[in-house]
Each structure stands twice: as structure tokens, then as C-alpha cells.
């Protein structure tokens, strides 16, 4: 076997490897033998770094010298909910700077939850002559000036996607920086931007880019300009409208409806800010071919929503507000048999009383009627163990299940029991469950179920749950495939963490905030396990100024081969051998 492996010339092996895209497969290949490691590292074109602090730019560049596509993730997931203070980290500039010299042929950069400055964007625009794809997902730190630099300089840009980033919106003028000679745009998502771009510049841009497939406009684009834009891009596959609200005028409506009908390839719709029901029929002609519909910013009510979804027989993904109510979800279950993913967001998350009639029943209906449903995010105000068990039995193919009950610690509203058994049923029946977020009143028992059954679970989010360290221990000791664990406001302390310390090195990261992990335990972990960065976040001041038994505010532990980082703000401390001395 060894002889066979070494008898292939390198070029042949390289050619074979070029058909392997998956990171895990690539990693496996590189471990076969030294020569395969060498060949593979020279021909790896795409790298994914799930935690930008797990490895350093020089390390990546040293191993993989010919990379064309980089994907990096920065802040912990809970940063989305303001649990990570500003200035925590996740700066992309050091990466860009290193890659500017090392990867002059870099084509794609995809970033999530990172701090991107205008300087970084300008450096990208300057350094990579063949730059094609920029995706900034939930990023922040840059302004429209940085976007102008990208627009002006990246002649081969195909994709610019700013999904949900926080942009310092100085003006809409940046869009006009795309030169007239620029025609290679394939995908543009500016839905997060607030200010108005020049509509004529937009229309001209759209008109001269024949390969444009995805166009997500921002709210500032009024409805009466949408038809013009659509007419210039009938080949669009994905469209995000701007404001979907205007005075009802027959001519506006008919040109809009006509424009939509002309887009025969349209499969995905989003936007619909401030949608008025009167203009919804304009999209009816294309509803039957829609596979993805994002109405989560549309404030239309259940009657109109029901009418709409009932026509989308090919729908695979629906994001919607809870205005859809149980009755709309029943229609969904009846008409959309191809549904794979459902997300229901709360229209009034801070209201005490429910403003809509959306209950556990809606989710049960969909679980009954949609055999391919495997991904769920559901915000509601009440739940029962029975409903969860029914959903579990109906959908053993569930892979992502995220439930949020608006009130923390809400019990089964009928039996007043904890929801342990309901979630227990989920993990027991759904053997391929990869991601789980739990809600409601939960004791240590639910964690026992999870530890026993959720063997494929990779990401778990827990809030206001559990009674003791036993809960955490069940998860850490039982979930073999656990990669990301995020916990807030649970009574978990030192014991479970210390007992399962070795487990932490097999995971990408652990987040614990408002729990009971003591400073002493953090120090211990940091000292004993060198390849973990144990970061304590505490805005009360240095943890060393308090007793060791004092719990830390926030704890973020992640494995790394890069050692402790040095770009931390004043409220973050890394526990390692040295810090133990410094802080005590």
C-alpha cells in the first residue's frame, strides 16, 4: 500500500485532490503520510477558520501557501444579543495585512462577526488584483467609505454581501464608485444599509451586469422604483425588495406585477419592509416557483400571509413574523409539502401579553404536514411537553431545533411541569440533531437526556436552565460531537468544568455568562491546559481584586494553537501560567 501511494507522481495526486473540497476530507488526506501532507497543503485553495483566534495568520500562511478563499469567524455567537461588550476583539486587519503579501491572488473573503475597518477594506481593494467575493456577515467597524474603495478598485468583483452588518452609513454615494466599465456583478446585498443610494446609479449598474443573480436592496429603495430595476434584470434568481409600501395606484401595481412576471428565474424573495397587503398580489404569479421566502420584516397579518403561503407550493424555506399565527402555519402545513426550514420571529418580543394567536399548535401542525422539515427556529409564548414530544415523533429527521419561549423559565403551561421530557423526546427521536437551543423551565434532567441521546449534537445553547453542575456535567461528558456550547444564566459552577476539562480541547468554544464559575477555577483551567485560551470578561475590574471563589461575569474558553491573544480590551483577561502570577 505504501509502495502504491508513493508510486503516483505528485501531479496525479494533486489532480485527484483537486476534486476534494470538504475541509474534513482534506484534513484526512493530509494525515495519510508526509508526502500527501505536502502535496495537499500546496493545493489547498480554501480555508475555513471557525474561530479567528484559534490560529494565527502566519501559521495559516506557512502551511497553506496557495490559498484563494478564506472564511473567518470572530466573536462568539452571543455577541448577536449584545452579551459581548464592544471592543472585545475579532479584528480582521491583521489577517488582511498578512494575506496582502502572502496571497496576492486571493479571490474570496468571507467574514462573520468580525470587526472590519475601512483600512482593512481599502487594503483588500488595493492588494488583491483578482478579488471576487466579499461577504461580511454581522460585521461592524466600517463605513460606506470602505465600500467605495471596494467598488472603485475591484474590477473583477462578483459578490458583495453585507448581510446584517453594522455599517457607518455616511451616504449612498459609494455605489456610484463602480466604474461604468464594471460589469461582473453577480450578487449584491445591501439590505442592511440605511441611506439612499442613487437610484439611477443602481439601475445602470443592474442594467449593465448580465450575470446578476442576487440583488438584495435596502429599505430606502421605494416600491415605485422596483419595477424599473426588475425590468433590467429579468434573469434575477434572488431578490430583496426595498420598502414594500406605497399608496395603492393601479399603474404602479400593474407595472410591478408585470415586472415580477417577467422574472421567470426568481426563486427567492426577501425585504418586504412595511409591506402593505394591497401590493402582495403583484408577486402571486411567481409564488408557485418560489423556494425561499423571507417575510420576517413584513408586518402583514395572518389572513394575507395565509393567502400568500398557500400559493407557494414549492417553498422550502420560510422566515416569517408570528403574525402568521397558528392558522397560517396550518395552511403552510397543508400547501407547502416541500418545506425544509421554518423560522418564526416575534413581532413584539418585549410585550408581556401575546399580541397574536401563535402557540405551540402552529409548530405541531407544520411538523405533521411537512415531511422534509428539518430546521426550525420558533419564538412563542407557550409550550407543552406533549407538543414537543409530538413534534419529535413527527420529525425524527430534525437537525436544527431552536425554540425560544419569550418568558425565561416558562413551564409547560398546562401541567406546570418543566419541559425536560419534551426536549428529552426531541433528542431521543431526532438522532441526527446537530443544533439545539432550549427554552422554558428546565432542570438537570433535561441535560441528562441530552447527554444520553444527543450524540450527534454539535451546538447547544442554554439559558436560564438547570439546577446544578450535574447538568453541565451530563452535557460535557455525554455529547461526543459537541463543538460549541453557549450558556447564560445557569447555576453551573466549577465542578463540571474542571472534571471535564479535557473535553474542552475537543470543542471549538465554550461561553458561559452569568453562571457560577469562580475565578479560581478559570485560573486553574488556564494553567493546566495550555492549548486552551481561558478568557475572563469582567467589567467590574481585574478578577484578581476579588476572592478566588468569586464568580466571573463572563467566560469564553476556546482551543487554540496560537497561544493567548494580545488584542484584548481592558475588561478581558486570559488565564494562563503567567497571568496566574500577574493577577494573584
Amino acid at each position: 500500500m505504501l509502495r502504491m501511494a508513493s508510486s503516483f507522481p505528485e501531479e496525479v495526486l494533486e489532480h485527484v485532490f483537486s476534486f476534494i473540497y470538504d475541509d474534513k476530507d482534506r484534513n484526512a488526506i493530509s494525515m495519510v503520510c508526509k508526502s500527501w501532507y505536502e502535496i495537499e497543503r500546496w493545493c489547498r485553495r480554501r480555508i475555513f477558520v471557525g474561530n479567528c483566534y484559534a490560529v494565527s495568520p502566519p501559521m495559516v500562511i506557512r502551511r497553506f501557501p496557495e490559498v484563494r478563499s478564506v472564511e473567518l469567524k470572530g466573536k462568539p455567537h452571543f455577541a448577536d444579543f449584545n452579551l459581548v461588550p464592544e471592543g472585545w476583539g475579532g479584528y480582521v486587519y491583521p489577517w488582511i495585512a498578512a494575506m496582502a503579501t502572502a496571497y496576492p491572488w486571493l479571490e474570496e473573503i468571507r467574514l462573520k462577526r468580525m470587526v472590519v475597518t475601512d483600512e482593512a477594506l481599502e487594503l483588500i481593494a488595493k492588494s488583491f488584483k483578482n478579488f471576487k467575493v466579499l461577504v461580511l456577515s454581522s460585521c461592524e467597524g466600517f463605513s460606506t467609505d470602505g465600500l467605495a474603495a471596494i467598488a472603485a478598485n475591484c474590477r473583477n468583483l462578483k459578490e458583495l454581501d453585507l448581510r446584517e452588518s453594522e455599517v457607518d452609513d455616511l451616504s449612498g454615494h459609494w455605489l456610484s464608485h463602480f466604474p461604468d466599465s464594471y460589469t461582473s456583478l453577480v450578487s449584491l446585498n445591501i439590505s442592511c444599509l440605511g441611506s439612499e443610494v442613487s437610484f439611477s446609479a443602481l439601475e445602470r449598474l443592474v442594467g449593465r451586469c448580465p450575470n446578476l443573480r442576487t440583488l438584495r436592496l435596502n429599505r430606502a429603495v421605494p416600491l415605485d422604483r422596483l419595477a424599473n430595476i426588475l425590468c433590467r434584470a429579468p434573469q434575477l434568481v434572488e431578490l430583496g425588495t426595498g420598502t414594500y409600501s406605497a399608496e395603492l395606484q393601479p399603474d404602479v401595481f400593474s407595472s410591478l406585477a408585470g415586472a415580477f412576471s417577467g422574472c421567470k428565474e426568481l426563486r427567492s424573495l426577501s425585504g418586504f419592509w412595511d409591506a402593505v397587503p394591497g401590493y402582495l398580489p403583484a408577486i402571486y404569479p411567481i409564488c408557485p416557483s418560489l423556494t425561499s421566502l423571507n417575510l420576517s420584516y413584513a408586518t402583514i397579518r395572518s389572513t394575507d400571509l395565509t393567502k400568500l403561503v398557500s400559493q407557494c407550493q414549492s417553498l422550502q424555506r420560510l422566515w416569517v413574523l408570528d403574525y402568521i399565527e397558528d392558522i397560517g402555519l396550518e395552511a403552510l402545513a397543508a400547501f407547502c409539502k416541500d418545506l425544509r426550514e421554518l423560522r418564526v420571529f416575534p413581532s413584539e418580543p418585549f410585550a408581556q401579553e401575546p399580541n397574536v394567536s401563535l402557540t405551540e399548535q402552529g409548530l405541531v401542525s407544520v411538523s405533521e404536514g411537512c415531511p422534509k422539515l428539518h430546521s426550525v427556529l420558533y419564538f412563542c409564548r407557550q409550550m407543552t411537553n406533549d407538543a414537543l414530544a409530538t413534534i419529535a415523533r413527527n420529525r425524527p429527521n430534525m437537525t436544527r431545533f431552536r425554540l425560544c419561549i419569550i418568558e425565561p423559565r416558562a413551564p409547560d403551561y398546562i401541567t406546570l411541569q418543566p419541559l425536560d421530557d419534551g426536549f428529552g423526546a426531541i433528542v431521543e427521536h431526532c438522532k441526527d440533531l446537530q443544533r439545539l437551543s432550549m427554552a422554558g423551565l428546565l432542570t438537570d434532567r433535561v441535560f441528562e437526556h441530552i447527554g444520553n441521546h444527543a450524540k450527534k449534537l454539535e451546538m447547544l445553547s442554554v439559558a436560564f436552565a438547570g439546577d446544578s453542575d450535574l447538568g453541565l456535567h451530563h452535557v460535557l461528558s455525554g455529547c461526543e460531537n459537541l463543538r460549541k456550547l453557549e450558556i447564560r444564566d445557569c447555576p453551573f459552577g466549577d465542578k463540571a468544568l474542571l472534571v471535564n476539562a479535557a473535553k474542552l480541547e475537543t470543542m471549538r468554544s465554550l461561553w458561559m455568562s452569568s453562571c457560577s464559575v469562580s475565578f479560581g477555577a478559570c485560573k486553574l483551567l488556564g494553567q493546566k491546559i495550555p492549548r486552551l485560551n481561558v478568557e475572563v470578561m469582567d467589567e467590574r475590574g481585574p478578577p484578581g481584586s476579588r476572592p478566588e471563589s468569586c464568580p466571573v461575569e463572563k467566560l469564553y474558553i476556546y482551543r487554540t494553537v496560537a497561544g493567548p491573544r494580545f488584542d484584548m480590551p481592558g475588561f478581558v483577561w486570559t488565564m494562563d501560567e503567567d497571568s496566574a502570577l500577574r493577577l494573584s
Binding site: 444579543f81 420571529f345 419564538f379 418568558e407 425565561p408 418543566p418 467590574r540 481592558g570
Partner: protein
């Protein structure tokens, strides 16, 4: 870090081991918020929230100050200690200016009080982690040396290695006992004072979680607009979008819009920004107090670089500067991208137009005020 400020006066807590400096008291009394003294320096918060229900504490814990009240809030880690609510009546409007981490649970009556037992007091727990308990664990860890090798720890090993055989039994709502579990380190909530429990239930029953400008009588029930940080887990982008949508829709009925309105707050010389939710305040007073607290650690050089172990003495003059209010002014950037002094327009108008906040040195802010008047003249 030597604390120079007087510790917080919590309910019934009389054990203050640190002397107050008179200067600091002066400064504080000049502070127009009417808030009690707070320890800004982030000292130990391991003191118990005083309560008869609290299990016996170690001496050390008793002597420490409760620093819950000093926490930075608003999109920041910070818990709402139960005692804070008792202090709410001292605030001018009686409304809470901070978002507690302690969730308000306006549940059905029967559940309310028992559920309160479940509620973790924000992130300031671990009081019953007595030093004894911890060293017990430590001892066993070191001696047994088996915790390091536990990946999927066996059942028999784990209780051993943590030095005790019992985990508190858990079943349903009685899992979290106020009484101290035998020998075990209980990380559970136990020290919610009885009074607060009652307050909480009062408030909880009669109020809703809708925050901005609710007309609920929330005199000692801050639950009216109390919100848990980062809950429900909705991205800011979505929250802000919802907020502006509902504002458009609700303007007619005059219903206050719900949802958060996060703006960034920067401060000259501070190493990093904060974000605050303007809807959690209803007056400039509240906003100003909250921001003072939030940025105090910068002015006293506490949260700066942590290269040096934090044992600096508080500079009295620095603190005076902060609390005096004359060194810094609060400014904001409005929709027209002009920088204005905060405080000149009615509050509602302010939150409507404010895009960003900045704490500037007074010297830098000269010339802002007149512009405001001009703007008004133009608009009027």
C-alpha cells in the same frame, strides 16, 4: 485595588469594611441623580445579598461589599441585584435606568414565588461557594489528579473528583432550595431577600415587560420596564428594524413603540465604545447617570490596559472630575450628522433623532450649544 468609595448600602447590610473618603461622599452628594454611593471600582461582589434565607457565609464573604450595584449595564454584562429595586424609588422617575439581568417573571401567581427561587441573581452568584468548599474541591483535585483525564468522565469518578458525593437533587421547581445543600457547593441562587421576593412578585404581577414609556405605575416595581440583557435572543438589526416599523404603525394610536434602540456611545480617551438602549430611559437624568457609571472606569483609569496588576489608588481629583460633571459633556449626532449638546430638545424628540452619543471634554464642546438654537429657529 483599594476601594475608596463607600460600599453600597444594601438592605440591611451594615457590614462595611472599607472607610469612605469624605471627598468621595461629597462628590457623590453633588451628583444630582439622587443615587446612593456606589463603588465604581469593581471590588469583590462576593458579599451576600443580605437575606435571612442566606446560608451561612464565610467571614470573608460577609465583609465584602456587594458590588452588584456598580455594574455597568445596558448591553453590558451586569446583573440587577435584587437590592437595586429597593433603590429604585430614589430615582427621580422611579423607573429603572438599567436593565437587570435578573429576569422579571410576571407569571401566574402560584408559580411566581417558587420560581423566584430559581432565578439566578444575575451573574453575581457563587456566594455559597465558601472558601472551604472550594479548597475542598481543590484538595481532592490535586490529590486525585484524575480530573485532567476525564473526557467522558465515568459516573463513579466524577463525584469523587469533585470531592463530594451529592449533587443537589433536582426535580421540578423545588430543585433549587433556599436551604443549603449538605456539604455541597451550591451555585444556586439562595440569597434573594424575602422583601425583594415580595416586591418582585408585586411588580411582576401587575406589570408587563414592555419597556419604553409605559404608563405602568412602577414605583417599586421596576419590572415594568425591566429587561434582561440580550433576551429574547434577537439580533440587534432585527430589533431596530422592528422598532422603527412599529413606530410607523403605532404613531397614530400614540402607543409607545416597543423594542430596543441601541446607539453607540464613545468617550474621548476611552479605549472602546459602549452601546446603550435609549428606550430604557425616559429622561436625560437617567441616561446621564447610567453613562456616568458606565464610563467611570475609564476616567479613573481602571479599565485601561491591564498590564499592571490593579492595585492603584483611586485619585480623588479624578473622581471629582467625573462626578462633578463639568469636565465632560454629553453630545449626540443627529440625523443630519450634526453634533449637538444633549439636553436641549424634549426627550422624545431626542431619541427620535439621536444616532450616536459621545462624551466629550467640555473644552471640545464649545460652540455646540448655539447651533442647537439655530436649528430650532430654522425648524420652528
Amino acid at each position: 485595588m483599594s476601594p475608596a468609595l463607600l460600599g453600597v448600602e444594601e438592605e440591611g447590610q451594615s457590614n462595611v469594611s472599607l472607610a469612605a473618603s469624605s471627598t468621595s461622599i461629597d462628590c457623590i452628594s453633588r451628583n444630582g441623580c439622587g443615587l446612593k454611593e456606589r463603588n465604581y471600582l469593581g471590588l469583590s461582589d462576593c458579599s451576600s445579598v443580605d437575606s435571612s434565607a442566606v446560608p451561612s457565609l464565610s467571614e470573608e464573604n460577609k465583609n465584602n461589599l456587594n458590588l452588584k450595584a456598580t455594574e455597568l449595564r445596558l448591553g453590558l454584562p451586569g446583573s440587577q441585584s435584587p437590592e437595586r429595586e429597593a433603590d429604585v424609588s430614589l430615582l427621580s422617575t422611579g423607573k429603572l435606568d438599567e436593565k437587570p439581568l435578573f429576569p422579571m417573571l410576571p407569571l401566574k401567581d402560584g408559580i411566581c414565588s417558587s420560581l423566584q427561587k430559581h432565578v439566578i441573581s444575575g451573574n453575581k452568584r457563587g456566594f455559597s461557594d465558601t472558601m472551604d468548599g472550594f479548597s475542598e474541591v481543590k484538595g481532592s483535585l490535586y490529590s486525585e489528579k484524575n480530573w485532567l483525564f476525564h473526557s467522558a468522565g465515568t459516573e463513579s469518578d466524577s463525584p469523587q473528583s469533585v470531592g463530594q458525593g451529592t449533587f443537589p437533587g433536582s426535580s421540578g421547581m423545588n430543585a433549587m432550595q433556599l436551604s443549603r445543600p449538605s456539604g455541597a457547593q451550591s451555585h444556586m441562587m439562595k440569597e434573594v431577600p424575602q422583601k425583594v421576593l415580595q416586591d418582585r412578585c408585586h411588580g411582576a404581577n401587575g406589570t408587563n415587560l414592555n419597556q419604553a414609556g409605559t404608563s405602568n405605575n412602577s414605583s417599586n416595581a421596576p419590572a415594568a420596564k425591566a429587561q434582561v440583557v440580550g433576551w429574547p435572543p434577537i439580533k440587534s438589526f432585527r430589533k431596530n428594524t422592528l422598532a422603527s416599523s412599529s413606530k410607523n404603525n403605532d404613531e397614530v394610536d400614540g402607543k409607545p413603540s416597543s423594542g430596543a434602540l441601541f446607539v453607540k456611545v464613545s468617550m474621548d480617551g476611552a479605549p472602546y465604545l459602549r452601546k446603550v438602549d435609549l428606550r430604557t430611559y425616559s429622561t436625560y437624568q437617567e441616561l446621564s447617570c447610567a453613562l456616568e457609571k458606565m464610563f467611570s472606569c475609564f476616567t479613573i483609569g481602571q479599565c485601561g490596559s491591564h498590564g499592571v496588576p490593579g492595585k492603584e489608588k483611586l485619585s480623588e481629583s479624578k473622581l471629582r472630575d467625573l462626578l462633578n460633571g463639568s469636565e465632560y459633556v454629553l453630545t449626540y449626532e443627529d440625523k443630519d450628522r450634526d453634533w449637538m449638546l444633549v439636553g436641549d430638545v424634549p426627550w422624545e424628540m431626542f431619541i427620535d433623532t439621536c444616532k450616536r452619543l459621545k462624551i466629550m471634554k467640555s473644552s471640545d464642546a464649545i460652540g455646540l450649544a448655539p447651533r442647537v438654537m439655530e436649528k430650532f429657529k430654522i425648524k420652528a
